[in-house]
Symmetry: C2
Subunit: 435 residues, 2 copies
């Protein structure tokens, strides 16, 4: 079934487009209550609560003694990965490391005209918990995308948690943990894993920040522990927005749209084009691909329920529509010149893939950019996961007596204006001494 179609030149477009944007694909109705109870239980009963929930949700064989995956277990599982996949993971890790090194912020340190020395200093967070989804979808690439930037930032202790349904370790996930450099790996998941990382248990030392995608329970748990620990963005269903002219091979664009649709039925794939006949050819190509692809049921439901084709009068003018969608992934399938020009005009996107030869999936694995990106229009206010998520900044101020003499009177005036006498006193007592 073809998805929704909108025409930007049609009279009812604004209303239809607003309705489309307003549709909520997140599902978090009653999970918050359940999650609150799980967190409270883990805080109260520690290890035993974690074991109980793991038995209930993941595998009956869970015991305190086997929750932490030993280095030997990890190596033994990782050893099963074929050479080609091993090399691909190592290649991806190297590229992610190189790109994220380029994003390291620079410390600031200068002395201004008053003689006041001001600085900003970035230091790694001491310990980070990385949530890795398990079960049907196990993504070794996500292990790299979380842990490699943490390593580049210099985080000393990286604790990975991953649910292992039936107790079975995923060799690729274990290898990715090894390549990226996880310091501890625990076979726990869900809200109970988030609670254990945030508050600690008898066995799990608490961390300072938790990153990584997860289901609605994990997202709700991260939101709840925010403040006790830091968290990264709240990940929702994947999205791709392809802006394509009529000169593309419809099969290429269909594959791109389906590459996100296959993630989950709540994923979203949108095509923007200025060529109605091309849109028809892409829709037909999607049906062809769906008839042969492995995850057709998921992709079909996503395309039918959340997909959309938007016709625009001309592609250069599509930037405002692209910005309102503020998609996780934006692909610009056109010649290099127009693609680059349009990329310059787009303000809201997690990542932009430019030109006909840059399928979004390259960014999922080996481009070097991070694939943990803002979804559900969060690109309006947030970028993807990065090395900055694993650093924190400290401000530094040094006044000489002379600098304090220059700055002090204004500070004193404002402290008095705000009615904060002791603030003023801490300044004036030093000024008086000097004078």
């Amino acid at each position: 079934m073809p998805p929704k179609r909108l025409d930007a030149a049609a009279p009812g477009f604004e209303k239809d487009f607003s309705d489309f944007l307003g549709r909520n694909r997140d599902s978090d109705e009653n999970v918050d209550r359940v999650v609150a109870d799980i967190i409270a239980d883990v805080r109260a009963r520690g290890d035993q609560a974690v074991v109980d929930y793991t038995r209930k949700f993941d595998w009956p064989g869970a015991e305190l003694a086997n929750l932490r995956i030993s280095d030997a277990e990890r190596r033994s599982a990782a050893a099963k990965v074929p050479a080609a996949q091993r090399e691909a993971l190592a290649f991806a890790a190297q590229r992610i490391e190189a790109f994220h090194r380029a994003l390291l912020p620079q410390d600031v340190d200068f002395t201004d005209a008053t003689g006041t020395r001001l600085g900003a200093r970035y230091r790694p967070i001491d310990s980070v918990g990385v949530y890795v989804p398990g079960g049907t979808a196990a993504y070794p690439s996500s292990v790299l995308m979380n842990i490699v930037p943490a390593k580049v930032a210099g985080v000393a202790r990286i604790v990975m948690v991953v649910p292992t349904p039936g107790g079975v370790l995923n060799p690729l996930v274990m290898l990715a943990a090894e390549i990226a450099g996880a310091d501890e790996v625990w076979r726990i998941g869900g809200a109970q894993a988030v609670a254990a990382l945030a508050y600690g248990t008898q066995s799990v030392a608490p961390v300072d920040k938790i990153t990584g995608p997860g289901n609605a329970y994990v997202a709700a748990a991260k939101r709840r522990v925010f403040g006790q620990v830091g968290i990264d963005l709240i990940a929702g269903p994947s999205e791709i927005l392809v802006v394509a002219d009529g000169q593309n091979d419809p099969a290429w664009i269909a594959a791109d749209l389906l590459s996100q649709a296959e993630h989950d039925a709540s994923s979203q794939s949108i095509l923007i084009t200025d060529d109605a006949a091309f849109a028809d050819r892409v829709a037909a190509a999607v049906e062809t691909e769906l008839s042969v692809m492995a995850r057709a049921d998921i992709a079909r439901a996503s395309w039918r329920d959340n997909g959309c084709i938007i016709l625009v009068p001309d592609l250069p003018a599509s930037a405002p529509i692209v910005d309102r969608i503020a998609a996780e992934h934006v692909e610009l399938a056109m010649e290099a010149g127009p693609a680059e020009a349009l990329a310059q005009r787009i303000r809201h996107a997690g990542a932009i893939f430019i030109g006909r030869h840059t399928p979004e999936a390259i960014g999922d694995y080996v481009a070097g950019t991070n694939h943990v990106l803002p979804t559900s229009r969060a690109a309006r206010f947030s970028g993807g996961l990065s090395v900055a998520d694993f650093l924190k900044r400290t401000s530094l101020v040094t006044c000489t007596p002379e600098a304090l003499a220059e700055l002090g009177p204004a500070a004193l005036a404002l402290a008095e204006a705000e009615g904060l006498g002791a603030h003023g006193r801490s300044v004036s007592i030093r000024l008086n001494r000097r004078g």
Copy 2:
């Protein structure tokens, strides 16, 4: 009454210190439920709900027509500010702008050996809501600390909300809004203001991110709307940690400790020193200051209930204790050399004030650094508010056909390993065409 005293060399120190760190000064028992109801009501009834809550909590005279403060009202209120305070505010604004300009991140754009062009681009968030507390404590300095960095980042629409008990405008707050460049100012506050900013009403256009400190209701509301909009850190009660040698004037250090204690009874002031006699002199000086200062009741309760004096064998060795406290403000009251050396060793602090002539209050107003800083040990994972909070990053990837040929096979291998056929197909279909 003197506060708690701990001796790092005493046998029971570790337990006492852990207990001290574990004490929760935040109060958010039942506010979450109340806040959830207010947010739902504002989403359902829009303007009318905002008017109703403003009448109930702030002033009975609230009407839809007077919720937005007109430019004329703002100017008229601001005109009442005396020249000295006006100049002090302008001086502070200039210094905050200069420091935050130095923190602007640099875009990244390079082409690597495979011919893949990679980039990271920072762009301002379109619209930001700034929460400014009103009522008894009105802080024009906080207006500057939120809005000036947003302006430096290039945010196009800055919406300030401030509750005005009795409908009365604070001249200094209005002047600060004018100097900093707020685009809209609304006299609304509490969870209803946060909900209006996040979801919009008939009159208030929604924003993309909300920053600024507030009470427990505001903090709970920000946590709840996170995801719908971005938020900055969750601000808790203020803290100061002064590390001082015995050569300081006890009155100076007492004033510094009280400068945070006077904020709120739940604020926290801690002294670390290696000189027990000096500690006694500071404790005595605190009592002397308390006997004359304006906000003595608040400061006395804070010092008595949350204050602490920690004796250490030597100051250079105090860095690990400082890091475990991870205070919002750390003051190093000693000669420049030892202060600078200790500052280098401290990893967790919102801001560090170095040397005998740098009282923390300088950072509250005119140093140029931001005074919105992580509290409640959040300095472990977060820095203060900054220009980066008002920008977001987009990743950019451009592959030539040749670059795709180099990267494609590894992406294909990983897509297959993860069972994501359409991901692989979007790569292989392009590789095949080429070959």
